[in-house]
């Protein structure tokens, strides 16, 4: 409420509370840490600018995630458009260089850690292969621990649609991960 009247200290408290969650959410959605930081900043700036128009009908957290989701959607669409426009085939090396932003350089790490990081990289790549809404809902339920009702409000669909989206995203992930040779048994060996 204080943030609505332009209180910078109150705004700072909000940022401190939600920044990690929002950056994690955006980073998992777009797959690029630097881009995620920029989008998270944009999200908080929009919150600051539109604090006056916020009506506390729904939870503040949902409103924050809604703004972040819209920015993520725009970014995902822009990226796919750019890729289509340029008609460039993104090689695996290029893709990997994208994700190196998220993960530290692990080339000189011991084998086990290297394998672990490599697996994380593949999982992130596979998440990015999912369709937009499936990806967002899966990230919200798995990494943000959100209820279906909240996800429905953020994504802008019904609870039953969210159920279906999450189910399909899990099915797709199962397929994609098994194709990439990542499974629970593989994990057990490591």
């Amino acid at each position: 409420m204080r943030c609505r009247s332009g209180d910078a200290a109150a705004f700072e408290l909000i940022v401190m509370r939600f920044k990690d969650q929002i950056i994690n959410y955006i980073c998992r959605s777009v797959g690029d840490y630097h881009q995620a930081e920029d989008l998270a900043q944009e999200t908080f700036i929009r919150i600051y600018k539109n604090a006056g128009s916020y009506e506390p009908r729904s939870k503040f957290k949902n409103w924050l995630y809604l703004i972040a989701t819209n920015l993520c959607r725009n970014e995902i669409r822009d990226r796919s458009r750019r890729k289509t426009d340029l008609l460039t085939e993104v090689s695996i090396e290029d893709k990997e260089s994208d994700y190196l932003d998220i993960f530290p350089d692990f080339r000189y790490m011991p084998d086990q850690l290297y394998e672990k990081k490599e697996r994380e990289l593949i999982i992130q790549q596979k998440i990015n292969c999912l369709p937009e809404n499936q990806r967002l809902s899966l990230i919200l339920v798995t990494y943000q621990g959100m209820r279906y009702e909240e996800i429905a409000e953020i994504i802008g669909c019904s609870v039953s649609a969210v159920k279906s989206l999450i189910h399909r995203s899990r099915q797709n992930m199962k397929k994609l991960l098994s194709e990439a040779g990542i499974s629970e048994s593989h994990n057990a060996k490591i």
């Binding site: 700072e12 990690d20 994690n24 700036i45 990494y143 999450i166 099915q171």
Partner: protein, 174 residues
């Protein structure tokens, strides 16, 4: 939607704890009896476990500093002067809020009173307007769908006995 698909969706929602108590019991009963369902649930759990291997991303302190810097550069928003209509709307809103704050009964009685007053005014207005006298000879022009009929009432005065108006001539007849 095929039945197995529906069951699979239910299992996924069950895994997230997003189904009602009744459905939970039903799913549990199914899991005890069906090995396929149990296997499906196990696969969901495995996928979830694999996904959770991606640990949380640590953010830098630089983020907050940069953000606060950007926020400090935003000029303070000036309140725009309200236009005539919104100004009155705001006033009305404040009155209604005042009334609402007092009591709901008061609010409803005031609304009802206004409605009755408007109804009385409208009925008085309609009662006071005089009906058009039938003796006045006014050329009447009647239009049908595909014909244009002109009726001259000057040359043919209407009496009480003559209730039917007969057309003198029809224009534009196809």
């Amino acid at each position: 939607m095929p039945k197995f698909e529906e069951t699979s969706i239910q299992l996924s929602a069950y895994f997230d704890g997003e189904i009602s108590r009744q459905n939970q019991l039903r799913v549990r009963r199914n899991l005890e009896n069906s090995a396929e369902d149990a296997f499906e649930l196990m696969q969901i759990a495995q996928v979830d476990h694999l996904l959770r291997q991606l640990g949380p991303i640590e953010t830098t302190d630089q983020f907050l500093l940069e953000l606060m810097q950007r926020v400090s550069e935003i000029p303070p928003q000036e309140e725009l002067p309200l236009a005539l209509f919104p100004r009155y709307t705001k006033k009305l809103q404040s009155w209604f809020v005042f009334l609402c704050d007092q009591s709901w009964l008061k609010f409803h009685s005031v609304t009802f009173g206004i409605a009755v007053f408007v109804l009385i005014c409208v009925s008085i207005f309609f009662l006071q307007t005089r009906p058009i006298p039938q003796e006045v000879n006014v050329p009447l022009v009647a239009r049908s769908v595909d014909r244009f009929i002109q009726v001259d009432l000057v040359s043919m005065p209407i009496t009480e006995k003559q209730s039917i108006i007969s057309p003198i001539h029809i224009e534009g007849e196809k």
